[in-house]
């Protein structure tokens, strides 16, 4: 598409800017004389020039306030701090991303526009245009499967299946204008933007220090980075799929702690399911157990909290939550049992009642037949 045609959807055109705003020259002159270098015409900006061309306005707080007072004006400074910016500045790398790589020139739309290249759903593909292209990235010696892995992750599913546009995409962990790898010691901080409680527990745990010493990337050690899958109890303990078993064995302290935590979680999970099942059975049979079902939510909460407490990597906080949950689920189960006993009691008495009613009906029929067989009183006497 010709640049002028694509420009119709550009935010700059909507705000009243024309070609001269970026390319320079004389807006009042018609024809070729408009492109007079003496009047500031720069033509197509060179890659190295692009941040400065955009920054003329976007780094000028007073100017930007006239159009969008809430828009940040540190994009160029951030870009300078990024891997992209530093390679451009220091090495003149002709392949690194600049402003126009992510915000395509002549068709720049705000991130809130679903057609924008930086709309949350499109960010991964925008980054992936370079980072998913093994040929393009050949000289950089970094993986090119990030986007493919990200698209298997729980975060991508939250964004696409559940429509949660706040779910993290590339820029939420790496920064956008200041894009860099998060850095080993900062991974917990990145994840902690959303998973703050879990990150706090992790930071205070023995693993935070040990992982940093070992060079393990915090949360990503167990949960991966780009291909983060939904977590489950299978990850805890020393089973086949358990992540603890990567470092711990059955005989060391960490292995024993992991096994104990898993047993606690399994016990609460099992008891909660058992209580839930009997309450559902009673409910389906028409018994009123809604209060018990309501109360059982407390056990389900405790289970979620216990799973979070696992990130303290000590048994006590997990046990504390599990005990709360077990007390609730055991009461709920007892109420389910009582409801089922009540149901059985009602059924037995219903059966007895029916037997009596049917016996009465049968007796009545027999009596009527007996009456029928008797000679009628009006019959003439036999001689």
């Amino acid at each position: 598409m010709a640049p002028a045609k694509a420009f119709d959807g550009d935010i700059h055109k909507a705000k009243g800017f024309g070609c001269v705003a970026c390319h320079g020259g004389d807006a009042n002159a018609a024809g070729m004389e408009a492109m007079d270098r003496a009047k500031g015409f720069i033509g197509v900006p060179k890659r190295q020039q692009i941040p400065q061309v955009c920054g003329r306005c976007h780094a000028d707080a007073a100017f930007m306030k006239r159009y969008n007072p809430s828009l940040r004006v540190d994009q160029v400074a951030e870009y300078e701090s990024s891997v992209h910016g530093s390679r451009l500045r220091q090495l003149g790398d002709p392949k690194v991303a600049t402003c126009a790589s992510c915000h395509p020139a002549h068709n720049i739309r705000p991130p809130s526009d679903p057609k924008s290249s930086v709309y949350p759903l499109h960010v991964a593909d925008t980054c992936g245009r370079c980072h998913g292209d093994a040929k393009y990235m050949a000289g950089y010696k970094i993986p090119t499967d990030q986007v493919a892995k990200y698209k298997t992750s729980v975060h991508w599913k939250a964004m696409t299946d559940k429509g949660d546009l706040s779910a993290p995409t590339c820029n939420d962990c790496h920064g956008n204008h200041g894009a860099v790898p998060p850095g080993v010691s900062f991974v917990g901080n990145v994840c902690g933007q959303c998973h703050s409680l879990t990150a706090d527990l992790f930071k205070k745990s023995v693993h935070a220090k040990v992982f940093a010493e070992m060079g393990n990337p915090g949360c990503a050690t167990c949960h991966e980075n780009h291909g983060i899958q939904p977590p489950g109890d299978f990850m805890l303990g020393l089973g086949d799929k358990a992540v603890c078993s990567t470092c711990h064995g059955a005989d060391d302290k960490g292995g024993k702690t992991a096994t104990e935590m898993r047993a606690l979680i399994d016990s609460l999970s099992g008891e909660t399911q058992k209580a839930n099942a009997i309450l559902l059975q009673a409910n389906h049979a028409g018994m009123e157990v809604s209060q018990a079902q309501f109360d059982l939510n407390g056990a389900k909460d405790a289970l979620v909290k216990a799973r979070t407490a696992v990130h303290s990597y000590t048994v006590a906080p997990v046990k504390q939550e599990v005990e709360v949950g077990l007390a609730i689920s055991s009461k709920a189960y007892a109420r389910g049992i009582r409801a089922m006993q009540d149901l059985r009691f009602r059924r037995v008495w219903l059966t007895i009642f029916l037997v009596v009613v049917l016996a009465l009906a049968a007796g009545l029929v027999m009596k009527i037949r007996q009456v029928d067989r008797r000679p009628t009183s009006g019959s003439p006497p036999k001689h």
Partner: protein, 151 residues
């Protein structure tokens, strides 16, 4: 003469037998059908209660406070905003289904499981919850608070 008397009696008896048989079948069916439905109940979905009258009086809910109540078998939360409005939402966190609670200090609805925050419109504003809490309609009728799933 005797045969002349027996004829209408036999016809009456036939009618009584027919009536008795029909009543017996009707009695049997009307007993067995509900009984079978009782013994083998249909699988029912979760409570579809659309409206609930709360056991709380409007004056008992102070400004900047919240209270959990039972909506069917599920938890819901009634909130009185600092400005005095009554609002109600599902109290099931949209992250992992924990029960949320009101935080007076934050003037927010909060989930203790993973530190999820919602504003007083039920909108998820911090932490992992992916979407807002389901909002209910609150009506005050005299001295009663009635909460409905929709208007």
């Amino acid at each position: 003469m005797a045969e002349h008397v027996l004829e209408p009696d036999s016809s009456r008896r036939g009618f009584v037998n027919w009536f008795l048989g029909l009543s017996g079948v009707a009695f049997f069916l009307s007993t067995v059908y509900p009984l079978s439905r009782y013994l083998v109940p249909p699988r029912v979905a979760e409570s579809t209660a659309g409206t609930v009258t709360l056991p709380i009086k409007p004056d008992d809910v102070k400004a900047n406070s919240g209270e959990i109540f039972k909506f069917g078998s599920r938890p819901a939360i009634l909130v009185r905003t600092p400005a005095g409005d009554l609002r109600a939402f599902s109290a099931i966190c949209t992250h992992l289904n924990c029960t949320v609670q009101y935080r007076t200090d934050l003037t927010q609805i909060w989930c203790a499981c993973h530190n999820g925050h919602y504003d007083l419109n039920g909108k998820n504003v911090e932490g992992p919850p992916p979407r807002p809490l389901d909002a209910y309609v609150v009506n005050v009728r005299g001295n009663q608070i009635v909460v409905s799933k929709s208007a």
